[in-house]
Amino acid sequence: MSAVLQPASVEELAAAVRSAPRVIATGAGSKPRLSMVCADAVRVSTSRLSGITEYEPSEFTFTALAGTPVREIRAALGERGQYLPFDPVLADAGSTLAGAVAAGINGPGRWRYGGLRDFILGVRLVDGEGRLLRFGGKVVKNAAGFDVPKLLVGSAGRLGVIAEMTFKVFPRPLAWRSLRLPAVDEIAKGRLLAELGRGRWELDAVESVVGDPVVFVRLGAPEAAIDALAKEIMDRFGGEILGEKEAAAWWFDAAEFRWTHPAGAWAKFPLTPSDGPAFATWVATHPGARARIGAAGNVGYVSWPVMEAAAECPWRGVLLRGNGPLWPGPRRLTAVAAAVKAALDPVGRFPGLED
């Protein structure tokens, strides 16, 4: 493996990008496929580019450097009763905030108010020519200029290196309850997910394990209201309330992806609830594969026991760990994607969109 640069300021980050003809940014490495690119690329680590640079609880915003661990942000917000509602994943694994943005994966809580893309307000990035550029804003509402911050969500370091980000945050609900609801098979599950999504309860998270006849639901609300909501859901669909410890363990496992094969491939696929049965059937054709459905049927995660991901995928997704194309599944290459890539990275310093 080639050298690793560790810039300690945004200016040093820009200089690091300029210093090599081929560059890939890396965070904590918790989504290793994203930075598994040609061997001659110099790795620019964000590990020393860390810290919350501004936090204004009264504005519902904070700004942090690229390598700031998600765990640190969660703790700082928690002290002021706030949170990132999309539940950034892999906090325990040391995931960095920029890594979360570049990977574009959300935790279970994304169901309620939306994902990373809905909370990112502004970015500073280093483009392929090593320029430090700022887009978006630092206030919760801003419509000036193109929405480059959103474009970077899921961009896997192919369009630029994120130096700093500003996010919107929300007050954290005061109480939580988790329920386990029965669903005899994947078809019943699909119907249950749709009904839960249309209900009046404003659920926080709706997740399930493919092949298990249950759906896990999390509620976040004021203490005085939450038991009535939980009871109504159970009266309607059956099921039970999880004990506090059991609930914490289940959501931790979900958000940390502890359920995946640690030495096997792991991928994300955007879905709709009606894809559920076909998705489950497809997963079942791979011996030892494990899968979960999140965001009430809007996303599926698969993990294989081996590093080789499925060669043929009926859905377009992103490979987070393992060997295989970065974007498995049917491709929709557009000419404009290549043109925007060239606008941000004219010399091809970062890996190509399809590498």
């Binding site: 939306g114 887009f135 959103k150 209900g199």
Partner: protein
């Protein structure tokens, strides 16, 4: 009466779309000369009114081949000159592409054409307990295509976000003629968020042909409170206290005295007497949650030294509160023959300071200014009154608007929260972004539109401003159909 011979470009254009789609009579052209920012007017070469997506694609490919500028247009309610025509170019009016192509209740999405009116989406799904959340106060008339191009907001942005937070995917014909599909029916994505980049492009990338919108369950219960304060500072302090408490209201709005007087005169809104400012707060959600939050909100408001607090006791009283609020701008408009509305953003904690500055300049310059704003997200909507017949009045109004925009940037905010840059604020873009950043935005624009034919002259500073003329309210405002928020 004989009409001049159509230009060669027009004659070739006529071969691209079925007969009857092209309007080029003087009266027809005049109707499209402006958008809702009537101070700018430009006469286009022709208006084309396609009826199908294929016709739009053919038109854009024709424009690309000819190097002919085009401006996509929805209902022309842009407040920043976004849909102002380009001289010598065509306007592609999308109002007939107004089909709702698919509603999926299980996935809670609607797939619509760009000419569908904002409020028509909610109307189509409300029987199923769903709604489309973004609610610009022009929602009875503005189109989803226009909302997408301008990333339109409304009164509920703090909790629910803007248009971009509700667009899951879209199909568009880019200015190169390429037809692309970004995103899709899922709420999740893989790969760079092209949909997110497209929303808010101000018509500079191409024409949206089909948009996938997320629908939300309609909140079950509302608690709407109006509180009057003797001073603006007290109203501002109340907002700070609410935000600090951990409540997340659906809307937090403030109206200042001049706006209150106008609303009283216009729609017989009743406000507590002796108030400099009125605060409107709305909680929404499951009834148990609203009941719990309501107790906290009521206690906070009681402690904020209001002149009076008036909770809406039923749906009719709630609607009355919103009617006063939503009519405030057109009501203020009646106080003056002309006005411009700005929509800069300041950090919420600096709202009080921003308003003191605005009111000071207003007095000093002798230009009246009424303030109504989205206090929850720091989005100001100062309404600057002037009489266009008075020499220099428009320029003084523009001068005040400019000071306000620069103040917003200096405070760390934005020149626009939801109305877009358009023609009006293009010279202020450099106040927010460095030259290298603007150059990068332009390169992105060129990736979508290498020939610069899609809505040229908007967003980016250019030499030579379009002619400023004075004109009154948008015709639909005069008719009382829509109002400015």
């Amino acid at each position: 009466m004989t009409r001049p011979e159509p230009s060669p470009a027009l004659r070739r254009l006529a071969a691209v779309v079925p007969a009857g789609r092209i309007l080029d009579g003087p009266a027809q052209l005049a109707a499209y000369e402006s958008d809702a920012l009537t101070a700018f007017q430009t006469r286009p070469l022709a208006i084309v009114v396609p009826e199908t997506q294929e016709e739009v694609v053919a038109l854009v490919r024709f424009c690309h081949a000819e190097g002919l500028p085009f401006v996509a247009r929805g209902s022309g309610t842009s407040l920043s000159g976004g849909s102002l025509p380009v001289a010598g170019g065509i306007v592609i009016a999308l109002n007939r592409l107004n089909r709702i192509r698919r509603i999926d209740l299980d996935q809670r999405i609607a797939v619509v054409e760009p000419g569908v009116v904002n409020s028509a989406v909610t109307a189509a799904v409300q029987a199923h307990g769903l709604h489309y959340a973004p609610d610009p106060s022009s929602q009875l008339i503005c189109t989803i295509g226009g909302n997408v191009a301008f990333n339109a907001g409304g009164a509920h942005c703090l909790k629910y976000g803007m248009t971009s937070n509700h667009v899951l995917g879209l199909k568009a014909v880019l200015a190169t003629g390429e037809v692309v599909e970004f995103g899709g029916a899922s709420r999740e994505q893989a790969g760079p968020d092209w949909t997110g980049l497209f929303v808010g492009n101000e018509g500079l990338f191409g024409v949206a042909l089909e948009i996938t919108l997320q629908l939300l369950p309609r909140a079950e219960c509302f608690h709407t409170v109006l509180a009057g304060y003797a001073t603006l500072e007290q109203a501002g302090d109340a907002v700070a206290a609410i935000v600090a408490s951990g409540l997340l209201p659906g809307a937090i709005e403030i109206m200042e005295k001049l706006a209150l007087e106008a609303a009283t005169a216009a729609v017989h809104a009743e406000y507590p007497p002796g108030c400099e400012a009125v605060l409107i707060v709305e909680l929404e959600g499951p009834r148990e949650v609203v009941a719990a939050d309501r107790a906290r909100l009521d206690a906070l408001l009681a402690a904020s030294r209001p002149v009076e607090v008036r909770p809406a006791r039923d749906a009719a009283e709630r609607l009355a509160i919103w009617k006063g609020r939503k009519s405030a701008f057109s009501a203020v408009g009646r106080l003056s023959p002309d006005f411009i509305v700005q929509d800069g953003v300041v950090p919420r904690r600096r709202l009080g300071e921003a308003l003191r500055l605005i009111n000071g300049w207003s007095r000093e310059m002798g230009v009246r200014c009424a303030n109504v704003f989205h206090a929850g997200d720091g989005n100001l909507h100062p309404l600057i009154l002037y009489d266009g017949r008075e020499p220099g009045a428009l320029l003084r109004a523009e001068e005040l608007a400019g000071r306000i925009l620069r103040m917003c940037v200096e405070m760390g905010g934005s020149i626009t929260g939801e109305h877009g840059v358009g023609v009006e604020k293009r010279d202020y873009l450099p106040a927010m972004f460095a030259a290298e950043e603007i150059a990068c935005l332009k390169r992105i624009r060129s990736a979508f539109d290498p020939k610069g034919i899609a809505n040229p002259g908007k967003m980016f500073p250019e030499k030579g401003a379009p002619a400023l003329v004075h004109a009154g309210l948008h015709p639909l405002e005069k008719a009382g159909v829509i109002s400015r928020e």
